[in-house]
Symmetry: C2
């Protein structure tokens, strides 16, 4: 399979696939003409990567998950630890964003949003104790 086909099947841009090769996540073969030649197993890995990335795992997490995936003798605890740590990060991020959202939505609501210069948003940014 050439990169175009793999890109279509996996949903990942060709650029991204080349990048994943660059950083050693996959190692497709090469045809005599220099074109990358993807096996089913490469395709499989790319799909795995696409899903992991869609769940917000970092590339390094993905690298580790991929290694665990390849290892038939892995302990599920290792996988779970990565996922749990990631989950906690996500939860922290959600909490942060919710706090921001609350502040911001309050500000947007109290701002007249008309032609006058008077603006509680700027007032808050000016004075709000961080």
């Amino acid at each position: 399979m050439n990169i175009g086909e793999v890109a279509k099947k996996s949903g990942l841009p060709a650029k991204t696939i080349r990048y994943y090769e660059d950083i050693g996540l996959i190692t497709p073969l090469r045809d005599t003409n220099g074109y990358r030649s993807f096996r089913e197993s490469d395709m499989h890995k790319l799909a795995f990567l696409g899903r992991s990335r869609a769940l917000g795992f970092t590339i390094e997490d993905c690298r580790n998950l991929l290694a665990l995936w390849d290892d038939q003798d892995r302990a599920s605890a290792d996988v779970r630890a990565i996922a749990k740590e990631h989950l906690e990060q996500i939860e922290r991020k959600i909490a942060d964003l919710q706090a921001i959202r609350d502040t911001l939505s309050h500000l947007v609501q109290t701002c007249a949003g008309d032609g006058r210069p008077d603006c509680p948003i700027l007032a808050k940014l000016e004075k709000f104790p961080t």
Copy 2:
């Protein structure tokens, strides 16, 4: 005021303050020895920037907010538009993260997390239709 003092007062690292000067957000004076010399107005702007950034506004948003802040004749509608757009982005991001969190927390719950290789997390990453 030297950069160290400003850093302490504003809570921003000196590196960041220099960076903000680099990209034209502030323009402190210079002493004869080459040291940056910050006025109260610079300090004030940095505090404004710190708060805007803490609310997740991009640097470009900050630049625009700062310009509006400086402009006594601004229309509050302009400020509100920036904040509202940002708020909507935040809300989208929260929704995305919540979806991820739900998937992930379900996976973490169903994974035994013991020494056995059997792992629903990897199974999901392998098969889940993106």
